[in-house]
Symmetry: C2
Subunit: 341 residues, 2 copies
DNA sequence: CTGTTAGCGCCTTCAA
DNA sequence: TTGAAGGCGCTAACAG
């Protein structure tokens, strides 16, 4: 395979008997340059497949058109949907996306940030790990004048734009739906107290109960740590074996709801007749299970797209002071797990 | 936020009263440089947080430490698993990964390739789209001396290393398992004839039947086009309503198997007693459905990791002539959908 | 052991 | 309307 040497401006200038700067300007149709010259240079460039050396351009301009994107997990329906939206949005605006994952570990997140910074991305899009409480590793970006946009899992310790799902409202609607369906004792298997999304959802749950004068009980609120199927299963068992068992369960996420459904199926407790279940995120699995799992869709693709558009705007404006909060509306998808009628 | 100006080698040299090249060499502990000088420079650099301008280095060295990765779909359990492995592998070797998706369209794939080439990745990792029959857009990489590694969905029109799953053997084992379980009439819902993986799996299916003197029928082979749930459902119906219905179905992928399971459940046909089902890919859904879906695991994470390691090795060796084929072993995961006993 | 010099490819004043 | 020259930050060949 012959590796053809790349044509440079210098080559063009020499061939055409003009100076390098004229060639450079002609290619970008600088108004000072004569039309004839422009045509000549462009024709020549086209004919010989001239491609500017992007490395030189980037070096000169001190930017890369690359954006860093860090998520807790890559193999994850919601996050991969966000990534998909971010990549498509970036492509439209002429940017590339460098993807990395933190595995929900602060150490990995910090490493990823350093790598991104070292490879000189123009900006960062991040959904922080569960362990991230402080944000010093993120401040480094701002100190270098590189904008950061947070999405979904965010921290208030960093003043950047934030693109979030309206967790409160999503939870509120989910619980209201259960109330409308006639469930009387609604439990909530919630996420960690340090995680903002989890708190918002819990608040939405509580507000819905209050607004509709529903019975409340601290026994009906269970705190997840790992937020997995097993916890859903175990908490469901605890709830149903308690003195005052609930007749509906609102879960922090679909995976937890799956554990709940599994327990109910094993014990032959009818869903949705005896117990109603609603999840959060609307993963692929929600439509696959039987009965279908009602869930709150977070519009991940849109979130990714909006986030990247915002970030690129900040990059172009050299703006690292923006703190706008963009809220993506949720949508309750009702399926068999909570639909009595 | 004060944007502190970056320290350069020039600054260090001036401060320390030495030349730029001495500073440069000292930082990389060049043997010619006196230990004292090295120490002095390193101390100074550390104290003042010197970070080399990566853009300048890349420009000078004509490489980016960025690798392009193109998959048909991002929101896809198998591909996101591969990406995860590739990213982790790249990280260990000091490379970043630029991700893009083709949506299984040749046009999008070509665009993605151009963008990657323009942003000057050091090499490309790709799983081609269903539409990709020729490979001219990929040859451009090789022509520029940038190695390419193909994985999973590959084309033989491009001479590069290929990392593939042993589709033939995976299919063979799946079908052999059905035979071992006592199924007598095994059907296959297969993928497109233009797609190599699909053909390999079909051959594995056929060979297993031959080796065990099983009944064969062209009526038992159904060709998918979209490879989705609906096709699985429809073909299952066709198969079971035929003159000579099969008692087991080996599906090209889990999604198709899901459609099959749905049909069987609706018609109250017992799985695995009356009909056995095996899928391919071992997606998350395979363990979630009830009964669990037996499936052939493709070890996506390992595939991503092996692919990227191979690619980086070629980049380092400036080697674009390699055509090694790396085969990842599959593993049959047996679940309720095919386990009679 | 260290400094000088030249240059990577491009852009951008400044001068003609 | 064009050209010459300088420089972005770093590396490396060549001299001392």
């Amino acid at each position: 395979m012959t590796e053809r040497k790349k044509l440079t401006l210098k080559d063009i200038a020499k061939e055409l008997g003009i100076s390098i700067s004229t060639a450079s300007r002609a290619l970008k149709e600088h108004p000072d340059i004569a039309d004839d010259t422009i045509k000549m240079v462009k024709d020549f460039a086209e004919k010989h497949h001239y491609v500017p050396n992007i490395l030189a351009v980037n070096f000169r301009k001190n930017r890369t058109y690359n954006i860093g994107l860090i998520v807790p997990e890559l193999v994850h329906h919601f996050f991969s949907t966000v990534i998909s939206g971010a990549i498509d949005g970036a492509k439209k605006l002429g940017y590339n996306v460098l993807v990395s994952q933190s595995n929900d570990l602060l150490a990995d997140e910090t490493t990823a940030c350093r790598t991104m910074l070292a490879s000189s991305v123009d900006g960062l899009l991040i959904s922080i790990s569960n362990e991230t409480l402080e944000a010093d590793h993120l401040k480094e970006f701002l100190e270098e004048g590189k904008p950061v946009v947070q999405f979904d899992k965010i921290t208030d310790h960093l003043n950047t734009p934030k693109v979030i799902v309206d967790d409160f409202e999503g939870a509120y609607q989910a619980v209201k739906h259960l109330i409308d369906q006639g469930y009387k004792k609604i439990a909530h298997i919630r996420g960690r107290r340090e995680v903002k999304n989890a708190n918002e959802r819990a608040l939405g749950y509580q507000k819905a109960l209050e607004d509709h004068q529903m019975e409340q009980s601290s026994d009906w609120i269970k705190d997840c740590v790992h937020i997995n199927e097993q916890e859903g299963y175990d908490f469901c068992e605890e709830l149903l074996k308690s003195q005052n068992p609930p007749d509906a369960i609102f879960c922090i996420t679909d995976l937890v709801a799956l554990g709940v459904l599994k327990y109910l199926k094993e014990k032959q407790i009818a869903v949705p007749q005896e117990v109603g279940v609603v999840g959060f995120s609307n993963w692929k699995l929600a439509e696959i299970v039987n009965p279908g799992l009602s869930s709150v869709d977070q519009h991940g693709y849109e979130m990714g797209e909006r986030s990247i558009v915002k970030l690129i705007q900040l990059i172009k404006d050299h703006n690292i002071e923006n703190e706008e909060v963009i809220e993506i509306k949720t949508k309750l998808i009702i399926r068999g797990s909570s639909l009595k009628s």
